[in-house]
Amino acid sequence: MYKHALLTLVLLAGIVTAASAAQQQPCHAQRGMHVTLFGGVDDPDVLVWDSRNRLVNYGAGSTDTRRFLLPHAMLTRPGTRAVVESCVAGIVHQKFSMDADDAVGVLIVTGKFRGRYGWVSSSDLRGKGIPEAREPW
C-alpha cells in the first residue's frame, strides 16, 4: 500500500519536474560567445552591473531604487565587445513588462572598461545566435 503511494508520489514529482524543465527557456548566450553591447536606438549606451542581484533589482525597481543602485554600474559605449562568461535564464524582469530577460555575465574586452567583469541584460547584447532586442525601445 505504502509502496504504491510512494511510487505515485515519485511519478508525480517526476512529471512536475519534467514539465517545469520543459517550460524554462535556455539562455541564448553561451559561455565563450563573443558579443557586442548595444542598448537601443534611442539610447544605445549599456549599463554593466557589478553583481547579478543589482542587475535584477535595477530592472524591476522604482526610480528611487534605480538611482540608489546606479553607482554600481558602468556605462559602456555602444559597440563595446565582450565575452560571455555565464548566463542565468529569465531572471531580469523589467517593470511594466511580463517578459523576462536573461542575466548574462560578461568580460569586457574593448573600451574604457576592458578587462572588467560585469552583468548585463540579454536585451543589451548583440551577436550571432542572440535574438534582436525589442525595437524601437
Binding site: D42, L47, T63, L70, W137
Partner: protein, 479 residues
C-alpha cells in the same frame, strides 16, 4: 331534409392572412433592428478605435519629444549653440499637452494600470529634466559620466513605461475589435435563429394555407357542380322569344338563391317560374334545385298556378326543416297559342308585363311560401302580339344608388319601358343597369326572365284535350 356540409369560414382565411402578415412584419422588425444594432456596434467600435489610435499617436509624440530633448541637450553640450537650447525648450513645452491627451483617453478607456505607468513615465521625464538636462545645460563643460548614467537610467524608465502603455493600448484595441466581432456575431446568430423560427412558422402556415386552399378548391368544385345542376334555364316555347340573365352579388359564387325556370308542359302550354329564396350561397342554391324540380313535378300533375303554389307551400317547410327560410315565387302557365297567361304570385311583386311602352305590374295573389298555409288566387291575363312578360328577383328593385335609395318597382318599370324589344338584350341590360346603379357592388343576386310573345298566324291542328288543367286552361283547350 336537406343537410349541407359546413365549409371553411372566411374569417379563418382572414385570420391566417393576418397572422402571416404579423409574422412577416415581426421578421422585418427583427431584421431592421439587427441591422441597426450591428451599425451601432460598428460605430461604437470605430469611435473607440479612433480614441486608441489617438492615444498611440500621443505616446509616439511623447517619445519623439523625449528623444528630441536628449538630442538638443547633447548638441548644446557639444556645440554650445543657443538655437539648440531654444529648440530644447520649444519641444519640452509640447510634452505636457500630449501627456494630458493620453491621460484623458486612458482614463476614458478605463486603463488604470496604463495610467499608473504614465505617472511613472512623467516622473522619470521630470527627473530627467531636473537631474540630468538642467545640470548639463547649466554647466556643459562639466558634464560628467554620472549624469550620463542617470540619464540612461531615466530614459530606460520612460521607455519601459511607454512600452507598457503601448502594449495596453494594443491589447485594448484587440479587445474592442474582438468585442465588436462578438457582438456582431451574436446579433447575426440571433437574427439567424429568428429567421429560422419565422421560416418554420411560414412553412407551417403555408401547409395550413395549402390545406385551406385545397378545401376551398373542393368547395369551388362542389359549387361548380351544383351550379351546373341547379342553373336556372329556359327552353324555347312556341311563339315566344325568351331572354334571361343572372347577376351574382359575389363574383366568386355564381349561384345563389334566385331561380327561374321555363319548362314546356305540352305543345302549347309553358310553365314560367321565378323565385327568390331567402338566404345566400350554396345553401340557397341547393334549395333552388328543390324548387325547380318540385314545381315542375306539381305542374305536370295539375296545371293550376294556385294549386302549384299551395302544394309547394305544404311540402317546403317539411322538406327544408328551417322555419326561418321563406320563398317568394311567381308561377305562370302560358298558353302559347292563345297568349293567355294564368299566374299566381306568392309575395313576388317584381313581375311586369310590357305592352308597347306601357309597363304594368302584376299583382301578388298570396303570401310568401314557407310562412303560412293559405290558398293562392289565380289571375288571368290575355297578352297581345309583342307583349313582354318581365320577371325579376328583388335584387333589381333593391339596387341602391350612391345615396342608398332603392330602385323600387317604379324605377324597374321605367327601365323596362326604356329598353328595346329583344328579351335577351333587355334582361342583360337590366342586370347591367342594376350593377351600375350600385357601383358594381350588388348586395343581392338578380335574376331576370323576359318572355316576348307573338300571336301565331295559324293555330296548329287540335290534338285533343289538355289533361289536369284548371278552368282557365280548359277554356284554352276549348279555343
Amino acid at each position: 331534409m336537406i343537410r349541407l356540409p359546413r365549409l371553411p369560414r372566411p374569417v379563418l382565411r382572414g385570420a391566417g392572412t393576418l397572422t402571416a402578415t404579423a409574422i412577416l412584419a415581426f421578421a422585418l422588425i427583427i431584421a431592421v433592428t439587427g441591422a441597426l444594432m450591428t451599425r451601432h456596434a460598428i460605430n461604437v467600435s470605430f469611435t473607440e478605435q479612433m480614441q486608441i489610435e489617438r492615444a498611440q499617436l500621443s505616446l509616439e509624440r511623447m517619445l519623439k519629444i523625449q528623444l528630441d530633448e536628449e538630442n538638443y541637450v547633447r548638441a548644446y553640450v557639444i556645440t554650445r549653440d543657443p538655437s539648440d537650447l531654444d529648440s530644447y525648450r520649444a519641444v519640452s513645452g509640447q510634452f505636457q499637452n500630449e501627456r494630458n491627451t493620453l491621460a484623458g483617453i486612458l482614463q476614458r478607456e478605463g486603463l488604470s494600470d496604463a495610467l499608473g505607468a504614465l505617472e511613472d513615465y512623467e516622473m522619470a521625464h521630470r527627473d530627467w529634466h531636473t537631474q540630468v538636462a538642467n545640470p548639463m545645460l547649466r554647466a556643459p563643460s562639466t558634464a560628467v559620466r554620472e549624469l550620463e548614467k542617470r540619464g540612461k537610467m531615466l530614459v530606460e524608465s520612460q521607455s519601459g513605461a511607454a512600452r507598457f502603455i503601448e502594449q495596453r493600448l494594443d491589447r485594448r484595441n484587440r479587445d474592442v475589435l474582438s468585442s465588436t466581432q462578438q457582438q456582431i456575431n451574436n446579433t447575426l446568430y440571433q437574427r439567424m435563429i429568428w429567421l429560422v423560427v419565422f421560416g418554420l412558422i411560414a412553412i407551417l402556415l403555408n401547409g395550413w394555407r395549402s390545406r385551406l386552399t385545397s378545401a376551398l378548391e373542393d368547395e369551388r368544385l362542389t359549387t361548380q357542380t351544383l351550379q351546373r345542376a341547379f342553373r336556372s334555364e329556359h327552353v324555347p316555347l312556341p311563339n315566344c322569344r325568351i331572354g334571361s340573365a343572372y347577376g351574382a352579388a359575389s363574383s366568386h359564387l355564381a349561384v345563389g338563391g334566385d331561380v327561374f325556370d321555363v319548362h314546356q308542359l305540352s305543345d302549347r302550354l309553358g310553365l314560367i317560374v321565378i323565385a327568390d329564396v331567402s338566404g345566400k350561397g350554396v345553401d340557397a342554391a341547393v334549395l333552388t334545385a328543390f324548387i325547380k324540380f318540385t314545381i315542375r313535378g306539381i305542374a305536370l300533375r295539375r296545371r293550376d298556378p294556385g294549386f302549384i303554389l299551395q302544394e309547394f307551400n305544404r311540402a317546403f317547410p317539411r322538406t327544408v326543416g328551417n322555419p326561418y327560410l321563406f320563398v317568394s315565387m311567381f308561377v305562370g302557365i302560358l298558353d302559347t297559342w292563345t297568349l293567355r297567361l294564368d299566374y299566381a304570385s306568392a309575395g313576388h311583386d317584381i313581375a311586369f308585363v310590357r305592352r308597347g311602352k306601357n309597363v304594368e305590374q302584376l299583382a301578388v295573389t298570396g303570401p310568401v311560401l314557407g310562412v303560412m298555409e293559405e290558398p293562392f288566387d289565380v289571375k288571368t291575363l290575355y297578352l297581345e302580339d309583342g307583349d313582354m312578360i318581365v320577371l325579376s328577383t328583388d335584387g333589381l328593385t333593391e339596387a341602391r344608388d350612391s345615396h342608398g335609395n332603392f330602385l323600387e318597382a317604379s324605377g324597374a318599370m321605367k327601365w323596362i319601358a326604356e329598353e328595346g324589344e329583344d328579351p335577351t338584350q333587355l334582361a342583360g341590360r337590366l342586370i347591367e343597369r342594376a350593377r351600375a346603379r350600385s357601383s358594381n357592388t350588388m348586395r343581392d343576386d338578380v335574376a331576370v326572365l323576359a318572355i316576348a310573345v307573338k300571336r301565331p298566324s295559324a293555330l296548329p291542328p287540335k290534338r285533343g284535350t289538355e289533361t289536369g288543367t284548371t278552368a282557365g286552361i280548359e277554356a284554352i283547350a276549348d279555343v
